[in-house]
Assembly symmetry: C2
Homo-oligomer: 393 residues x 2
């Protein structure tokens, strides 16, 4: 695996010995980990073994030029090399991975046909409300990428190499490359073999301190079971933002059980067609499903003031509140690149259960070259709009 980030070097600098090997087995009774040619004793063990991309068990799924995406520079470089002469790319799944991959391929091969096949009625549906999904879809379509929603893949057709895909609707689409971006599943084999418990969302079960069913063994990141911040229900979210927060819990809890996991909020961002798409917490649909009486506030403004300033771009913000006490449940951001930080304001405010009233009274810093004006500042105005919506019910 090639990692473009200087992680190993950073670890070694801090006195961590990094070994590149495979763990074959964990012996919990003897507290031993077996590698290819040796075993290592442990007092505490951390499983941070990630997840693997899902490839459905469909006809033709193992044909040549059918890929799943792993975060490995060597693999990606090899894949791009292998498909550089393909003319018909089918991307299965319109989540972040599928959308980003479609855009990268279209940039690399502008003359090729690139299509995204999405089972639901919208792309990015898990993190965005429908109208925000539509913004992302328009941005992707503008780049000449075709979107097929409400379409389910039934089979991949070909003899040695992929030649087409067949959809449940009967459509057949010529394809010389198929890429899956339909999510991932926790890596649990080692844990299962060691007799550790597995949770309802298929991750390695952990308590609030990230201990597995064996208190000497911790798990964090994509391999560990997740619970929602909002109602502690099992969560399928697997994100770097969650993994790194969990790792910071485990790092301390190895020494003293101090840092408690309050559950996953889900903070996402991506950048497609030079626009930011970001979300945190619950969508309106999620919130309704969890029994909340959702109040929504929207605001949009140019990220400069006056709007004629160089670099001016639209920045839209939606905030979702619990109608009972008007605390923040979720937020969505679209537009200017500064949205990548703005979503972290929203994530932090969700974590702190801040109310619309508190947001309205925030002293938000603004500057002509950096943000909307103080009277148009989107975060504050979306909260104000939600308060008005709450009053006018």
């Amino acid at each position: 695996m090639k990692n473009l980030l200087p992680t190993v070097m950073m670890m070694e600098k801090r006195g961590v010995e990094v070994m590149n090997d495979e763990v074959k087995m964990i012996d919990r009774k003897e507290k031993l980990v077996f590698l290819s040619n040796q075993s290592i004793a442990y007092d505490k063990l951390v499983l941070a073994i990630g997840s693997y991309p899902i490839k459905p068990n469909l006809p033709g799924a193992n044909l040549q030029k059918v890929y799943t995406i792993v975060k490995d520079a060597t693999f990606l470089a090899g894949m791009f090399e292998d498909v550089k002469d393909c003319n018909n790319f089918s991307i299965i799944g319109g989540g972040f991975i599928g959308m980003e991959m479609a855009e990268e391929i279209k940039k690399m091969r502008p003359e090729a046909a690139v299509q995204i096949i999405e089972m639901q009625d919208h792309c990015l549906k898990l993190v965005y409300d429908d109208d925000y999904c539509a913004l992302a879809e328009a941005g992707i379509s503008e780049q000449g990428i075709q979107l097929l929603v409400n379409e389910k893949l039934e089979a991949i057709v070909g003899t040695k190499q992929v030649e087409a895909i067949r959809l449940a609707s009967g459509k057949e689409i010529k394809s010389d490359c198929v890429i899956f971006g339909i999510g991932c599943l926790p890596n649990t084999k080692l844990a299962v073999d060691a007799g550790l418990d597995i949770g309802p969302a298929r991750g390695i079960a952990v308590n609030e301190f990230m201990q597995t069913s064996d208190p000497s063994i911790f798990a964090c990141g994509d391999c560990a079971e997740k619970k929602s911040f909002f109602d502690s229900s099992p969560s399928g979210l697997r994100l770097a933002s969650i993994a790194t927060a969990e790792a910071r819990m485990v790092g301390v809890n190895l020494y003293q059980l101090k840092r408690e996991n309050k559950g996953t909020i889900g903070v996402f961002s991506t950048y497609l067609g030079k626009k930011t798409y970001a979300a945190a917490g619950l969508t309106a649909k999620d919130a309704k499903n969890k029994g909340y009486d959702v109040i929504i506030g929207n605001a949009e403004a140019i990220n400069r003031h006056p709007g004629g300033m160089p670099g001016a771009e639209m920045l839209k913000v939606r905030l979702l509140f619990d109608g009972k006490d008007m605390h923040l449940l979720g937020g969505q951001v679209y537009g200017a690149a500064s949205g990548g930080e703005l979503i972290n304001v929203i994530g932090a405010l969700i974590a702190k259960k801040v109310t619309a009233e508190e947001i309205v009274l925030f002293q938000a810093g603004t500057h002509p070259a950096l943000t909307a004006s103080p009277v148009a500042y989107q975060l504050v105005n979306a909260a104000e709009a939600a308060m008005v919506a709450h009053l006018n019910r």
Copy 2:
């Protein structure tokens, strides 16, 4: 006054009658406001009459081509027209206004000499710690603007028009234009004439609901007295972020005394030489002066990952905590434009008295094209660094 923002139009759209006239007097007994040719009765009155820039009473201060800056497009266009052939610009005061003005003038007239005269040992000293001030100073110097710190203006020399400035150190600097950016004072004349109380920071005294000493009259924005969020001491801060938050309090309190002013945090941002400079809350020196045992955490990283991504820029973050319980007191940001939103994360976290531990456990969203990597995310890492500093004391 020309306002480039569509404020009046927005007001009229919402049914507010906007009159362009001058208030000559308030008759509190009769509840009347006297304009040029008429009087208007009121039940509740809001004073939102702003501040005026300070021009010191020094020899030569009234010579031609000596300016203070008011936020009025007509005035600014006229001033720039008047000084377009000047060759030696002296800017008095190295705060945000002085720094921004120096940069604008240097852009307009690259061949002219532009110098900033600052009384303190650093520019932006009110909002930044010394090393962050030094970053801003280097950015300004790189543009060919000369900085003179520890220098006090003593007189402006000239017969009809300014010809030079004389400093307390004895230096004389050739100047055919002098611009003051040394702060502003609340507009209180109307309030004083009406017998309303004035506060120790020279603003119109207000209670926590923004009522003046006459409960039918409210004041907000630059004209109103300010108190610090941290210790309720009188505050000289006058910022759009504070003014608009206060206006949102008054807007509701006119109908029902509901929104309480918790005091000024002070959230600033500016953009000089294509770098963001932003700050919120207390500097290390402020915090020490207020009796806090300050713990500082620093982090810096490129705002992309890997760092070779297009658009990669440095983003530095400093967080300051109260050593007693490690709650957040202040923050400083330097570098990439997304810092203009990041400072609002910090401002919100100060308002919510969030601790370093809570920040460390935030699920911060990151994306290769928008932010540092999840392991390098500056806000979280600055909090972690502060926790380490706290442990190692």
